[in-house]
Amino acid sequence: MADNGMVKDKDILLEVKGLKKYFPITGGMMRKVVGYVKAVDDVNFFVREGETLGLVGESGCGKTTAGRAVLRLYEPTDGEVRFKSRALSKSGKPEWVSLRELNKEQLKTVYQDISMIFQDPIGSLNPRMTVYDIITEPLLIHNKIGPSTEEHVIQLLQRVGLRPEHIRRYPHEFSGGQRQRIGIARSLALNPQLIICDEPVSALDVSVQAQTLNLLNDLKEDFNLAYIFVAHDLSVVQHISDRVAVMYVGRIAEMAESIDLYSHPLHPYTEALMSSVPRPNPRLKKQRIIMEGDVADPGNPPPGCLFHPRCRYVQDRCKTEVPELREIKPDHYAACHFAGELDLKGVEMG
């Protein structure tokens, strides 16, 4: 699909093609490799400038691994990651680079353009460092400490809703929501173009979740950021994403504009997932689709379509042939042999 649809788009910022990350399974005395967990297997997606791409899926479907493999925090097994980098170009105009071909120094430079926000607001901040040290760490790594650094940090703190006097404090003195704000301020320190948010709100309680999501939305406008927003909570993803990619056992099942995907899913898995979204309407008849069986084991995946053992619309073809991710409607991709032919139910956007 990549060859027909994606490249012609001018404002694409990041393009991922055929990304794979296999973790070896070792066994026996000699630690022989007996198989692979295909955590991420042939993942394709792209992010446009200033856009939020939601990446959803059940736990263990490889969404976090995909996010980290993009940055080569986990070295991908195969695939291509192309990124329009500002930091690496000498002319000042953004330039296409292939992240997997960069050497260490170049990759470090690209890290100025892409940063990360982590799930655990406690674990992602070093408890022995002050807020100032935490936020300036990216600057220190890239030799960008100057006389105006403190002012810069204070501005960042104020921008994420913290107070200037918090600068000398330690992480343990903050609440979970505040800590996540510190993490957000840190991710903004180098003025990136793209932030990979790895479940940034799933450890927070609901009221704080909303505040944090609104903050992320505001920052996106202010700094012209793009997000890859990894999450498992569909209502959170719906709230923040422009487009959503649904993952199932290491593969993208469907990718489309948020509204389109939620109201008119084209993949049976998306339909089942949508039916699980709780809706605050007591008169609505429950129509949850209860899926049979378990999630496929990425170490021992079924042949054909990975979803076929649980699919309500399964046909013989699904059991042998792996469906490709193809563009069914403009900007709406699905990896199902019968996408577009099935009549699937979505949810109304509220």
């Binding site: 980290r68 990360m116 002050t130 760490e137 790594i141 006097e165």
Partner: protein, 379 residues
Amino acid sequence: MTDAVAIPMEEKKKDAVKISQSYWSLVWWKFKRNRLAVVAAFILAGYYITCLIFPEFFAPYSKGLESDYIEARPTYPHFVDAAGSFSLRPFVYGLDEEIDVATRSRKFVVNESVKYPLYFFVEGEPYKLLGLIPAKTHFFGTDPANPDAKVFLLGTDRLGRDQFSRILFGGRISLFIGLFSVAVFLFVGVTLGAASGYYGGATDIVVMRITELLSAFPQEPLFLALGAAVPVSWPSTRVFFMVTILLALIQWGGLARQVRGLVLSGREEQYVLAARSFGASDRRIIFNHLIPATMSHVIVIATLKIPGMILLETALSFLGLGLVPPTVSWGTLLQNANTVRSISAAPWYLFVTPFILFAILAYNLLGDGLRDAMDPYSK
């Protein structure tokens, strides 16, 4: 309305004044409440000032000065003389040499008719303070104008050298060995442990197998063999450094294993991943994130290790396998007391023991205090 405005203002003020407590200031605060540990810290400070830094000043004589008083008994300071008259200035009695008719051995007896008053800050043998500044003043001593006046607080040895002075000078070597070998021990243990935990793989396997080999080896014969391997012809300073490094190299295994464990768990922390996502180098992650996380643990181990090193040096030197005379250390001083004859004839040779004892005790109390203070789970 005015109240509503005033309250947040006040809150803000309080907030600005509040100073954050860093981990180390909390440790210090907890440590201060442990009286025994604080006393131990003061005792150790005293040891290091008198023995390690300024023994030339605190000792009345140099470590090599030989007097005519061979194995003379200690002359204790008195305030009240035999006649019962009190003087504020302490004094010591003179010593007379006597031949014991029965054993035909010479011994010294106290002559209560001769009194030598003691003075503070007296002029004595010239020396160089810290090896640099020439000086003559000693902390205490007898009247320099009277060459017969001597003070031997803890007696003399076979060559007529003052025990007290020699114990102070011996402390310099023994205490320094404790510090220096623990420094080497820390360097080797932390470096190899951190490398082993962080890089894993072949590094880990090699390092861990070496530590297992070292811990499986019976330590005493290993010390004896290595100690015996140091050539006799070597100058004393080289032997000294050799012994120091030997002590460290045999013992680093346990520390390396603990640091490895801490680094292994620290490596998986999200803040390490965060640092990597910003492009931090391995070196930065190890030195700024992983090793600081092990420090509270390592400092306690080091503090508890120093007395072990001091004792090891003492034991080795006592057996004649570590340092050898003329180097003065607590171990070589104890060699004087290695026969029954010498203990019965000159029991003051054993005065080295309380000095060692209190140093070890103080270190252990200090280590315990630090461990309690650094334990994040204690209240």
